[in-house]
């Protein structure tokens, strides 16, 4: 696959890539042999591949976190009838013969059924606590240390909420946030970046200035302004962050497009009378896909980092949303008295970001067809 000239390779060496032949993405659903090769290469890079597997498993598990970590029971068998409280509306306590109208306390119910021994039973998830529940014991002061007996495997935070539950739900939110940012930033970035690179001229010059200007604006102020109008939530924060996040990808795409544009095959396509859309759609973008793909893991890591930092500083999602940044802030205050908080969240962040970075490395290598030379 050594198709590139020395020259272009050098130009690309910043990210260790070289161009591919235009692949025919529009030819039905047959898998491109190129893609198969890349996938094989990716699989052969062990630490990246295993990180990807682990992360995907973690994501799938966290998507169904309600079934694993939850204060609501999985199944309740009461008077011969089965209830599945996990999803949907709350089931008030009086459904199960308790004397209250609010949501059933399933842990309590489980203990009660066991005591009554009338054939009723409750199946709780492995971690029987939700991320918002304050499991407080009057007279004992949170944070409670990790304990198998209580089911708080990583202990609780300073208001008695399960650290593991908050970690897992926080992970889900952080990833969703990062994915959403990625999607929006890349859509805008690819569209604007391609246009800048392809058309160049005044349009390019104008947007270059816009991006330069945009990079200097303190996003914290925009968040403060938004916060003063509405209580920030997942979506408003994401919108603000996209407003400031699109520039990076745009810049990268612009540079890549510039390079591809002057390549022989694009020039040839143009000489053959291909429309602008066709030139971009079937020639430029497919060839920059390696750039795009190799940036994805770093964007994900960046997105997670961003939300964590915002939460840590108190400009993120409103309480009591489970969040890693909030756990970090708590952990910092309890660094000596309740080290399990900072350890749990610190190790989690590190592992996730390391895995994401390994994946990124592997993806980059997989998309780079050159065999690296290394000598003993």
């Amino acid at each position: 696959m050594k198709t590139a000239t020395t020259d272009s390779r050098l130009a690309d060496s910043a990210s260790g890539r070289s161009p591919q032949r235009p692949s025919r993405l529009r030819e039905g659903f047959t898998i491109n042999p190129q893609t198969v090769k890349q996938w094989r290469r990716f699989r052969s890079i062990k630490r990246g591949y295993y990180s990807a597997v682990a992360l995907v498993v973690a994501l799938i598990l966290s998507a169904g976190a309600e079934l694993l970590v939850n204060g609501r029971a999985l199944i309740v068998s009461y008077d011969g009838e089965l209830y599945f409280p996990t999803y949907g509306d709350i089931i008030p306590g009086n459904t199960f013969g308790r004397d209250y109208e609010y949501e059933t306390d399933y842990r309590d119910l489980k203990a009660l059924f066991k005591e009554q021994d009338r054939g009723n039973w409750v199946l709780m998830p492995p971690v029987p606590y939700g991320p918002l529940e304050n499991d407080l014991i009057p007279g004992y002061f949170p944070p409670y240390a990790p304990s198998f007996e209580s089911g708080h495997y990583l202990g609780t935070d300073q208001t008695g909420r399960d650290v593991l539950a908050r970690l897992i739900y926080g992970f889900r939110i952080a990833f969703a946030f990062a994915f959403l940012l990625l999607l929006c930033n890349y859509l805008i970035g690819i569209a604007v970046g391609c246009a800048m690179g392809f058309w160049g001229g005044v349009f390019d010059l104008l947007f270059q200035r816009v991006i330069e200007i945009w990079n200097m604006v303190p996003s914290l102020y925009v968040i403060m302004i938004v916060t003063s109008i509405v209580i920030p939530n997942f979506w408003t924060l994401a919108v603000v962050m996209v407003i400031f996040g699109w520039t990076q990808m745009t810049w990268n795409m612009r540079t890549s497009t510039y390079k591809e544009k002057t390549r022989e095959y694009v020039l040839a396509a143009r000489a053959l009378g291909a429309s602008n859309t066709r030139q971009i759609g079937s020639h430029v973008i497919p060839n920059t896909i390696s750039v795009i793909v190799s940036f994805i893991p770093f964007s994900i890591a960046g997105g997670i980092f961003l939300l964590t930092a915002l939460d840590y500083l108190g400009f993120g999602l409103p309480p009591p949303t489970p969040s890693w940044g909030e756990l970090l802030a708590q952990g910092q205050n309890h660094i000596v008295t309740a080290p399990w908080i900072i350890l749990s969240v610190g190790i989690s962040i590190s592992i996730v970001l390391i895995m994401v970075n390994y994946i990124g490395e592997a993806v980059r290598e997989a998309f780079d067809p050159k065999k690296h030379a290394y000598y003993q």
């Binding site: 109208e101 609010y102 949501e103 014991i137 300073q158 403060m224 003063s228 209580i231």
Partner: protein, 644 residues
Amino acid sequence: MDCPAKNIAALAFGALLTAGCGSETNIHLELGTTHEPYAPPETAVVLPPIEVREGDGLPDTLPEDLVWITNDEDPVFASPDAKRGGTFHTSISGFPLTLRRVGPDSNGSFAGFLRPNQFGPIALHPDTRRAIPALATHWAFGADGRSIYYRLNPKARWSDGVPVTADDFVFAVQFMRSKAIVAPWYNNYYTERIRDLKRYDDHTYGVQGANAMPGAEMHGSYGIGPQPRHFHVLNEDWVANTNWQIEPNTGPYQVTKVRKGKYLEMTRKADWWGNDLRYFKHRFNPDKIRVDVIRDPNVAFQHFLKGNLDTMGLVLPQYWHDKATGAAFDRGYIVKYWFYNEQPEASGMYLNMSDPILADERVRFGIAHSMDFERVITTVLRNDYDRLSTFQIGFGDYDNNDIQPREFDLDKADAYFDAAGFETRGGDGIRINDAGQRLSFQVTYGWPQHTDRLVVLQEEARKAGLELVLDLKDGPGSFKKMLEKKHQIAWSGWAAGGLAPGYWEHFHSVNANKTQTNNITNHANPRMDPLIMQYRASTSLEERVRLARILEQMVHDSGVVVPTFRVPYTRAGAWRWVKLPESLAPRTSASMFSAFADTGGFSGGGLFWIDLEEKERTLEAKSDGESFGPTTIVNTTYRVQPAS
């Protein structure tokens, strides 16, 4: 540390508003930036005489029939064992923005070091709450019920040696009314509340206020402090020119060294004029006070553990129970002090009556019964705090102790919410009324450290079918929202303090539905208004106490305030060499280790001293690993039994 409102209150109280620059006390100013040397005027500036309105004004000559009073019979509260000397090390979290006592940014945390060193004509005894002499030796009340006359102590001096005279008080009014100081609230106060101030001779003057009130409280409202007229040039550059000037003061300490961004040092005046006064003797003992800037509270605590700082406030349960542990405590190098005090407090959830749903008192009562404060106290707050029973408390006789706060009771909440039309529950367990409105309110607050308490309340309130949406904003942001009355429920506190509770600003209808007033509940009750005015106008203590109790009951009955917590104590850790009197502190003390006179409006500070021999012993023991045994001293003399 825990209650910002309280801190700011403490600062505001010390506010004898003055400015000045010392030259005699060996001032050694090291500033990072260079300033033009500030030249005090050779002669005092001629200012226009104090404008007096129609119907106001003091007599031209001193009335003959005045009864001059002083106070030399109240108990002395400083310890005669106190030793003078040593350096007291403390810290602040940010370098002050200015060394002025008035004007923009003068309300920062360093104001707590500057203002208490600026004395007024009288001070308040920290046990008896009666007036005691400070700059004045005697005082007398005028026949009109709204004027006081003071006779100054001829020994009183500014820090540059200039005598304090009645002219400085005349100047204070002119100064405070001047636009040059960019302090419109002071401008207003000295125009609206202070109506006249007249000099009779060098050491005698009278002051007249807007309305009559009992004598004791008149000191508080009209007993303004002096300003050094020999120092100030009031022009439009005043704010910038004086920003880093050390203004002359009348208290025992003066700033002597400033390293911008790093630390400040204050020095005890060797021949301070107040040294031998009955209530100032054996007080203000350290020779120097070194104030380091340590921005991160965790790091400040590390400095304390190392002995770089002498004391550390331990009011927060987390600090007292968790952080203040380890070898230094177990071996008694650091002693823990817990003092139950009597400090006015007012913190609560303030429900905005202009919200259509909160306008219904049944909803307000329902909310009050859905708040499980007990649970917060017994867990997150570690049984340290008490439930607050009324809107404000801590004013001695004025307190209405008959009121029981609405307790957490789901049945009662149920009944109230049902009656208000919120009978059915939605799929998420939150109540809905027939119009489809959810029983959901935003709680606006500005202190991230209160999130702990709120999330517990929030979870428990769900049981009642009530949703609280937490609206955490940064400090100024939350305050803006409350003062613009855009909140639904405000979680806040007021700087309560002094001698008597106030109702007009919080509950009178003239302040309702207007932005920028303290009536953040938009409470308006035509039955209550006249009583408030009567309370305001009354000069009889008995009458005022009676009315205050009625008013407090009416506030309770309206349900617009859900009182939250009360911190019934002050707590601190101190290295063994910092000594306190046996009783730790006087009744009203807000802080045991305040180096200066003022602690929350009363003159109860400056009682501790540094024992240098003990310091040597302690450090020796520390390096040898020798133990004195853990020491915790608790004084519950003034503990008020909690309401519930």
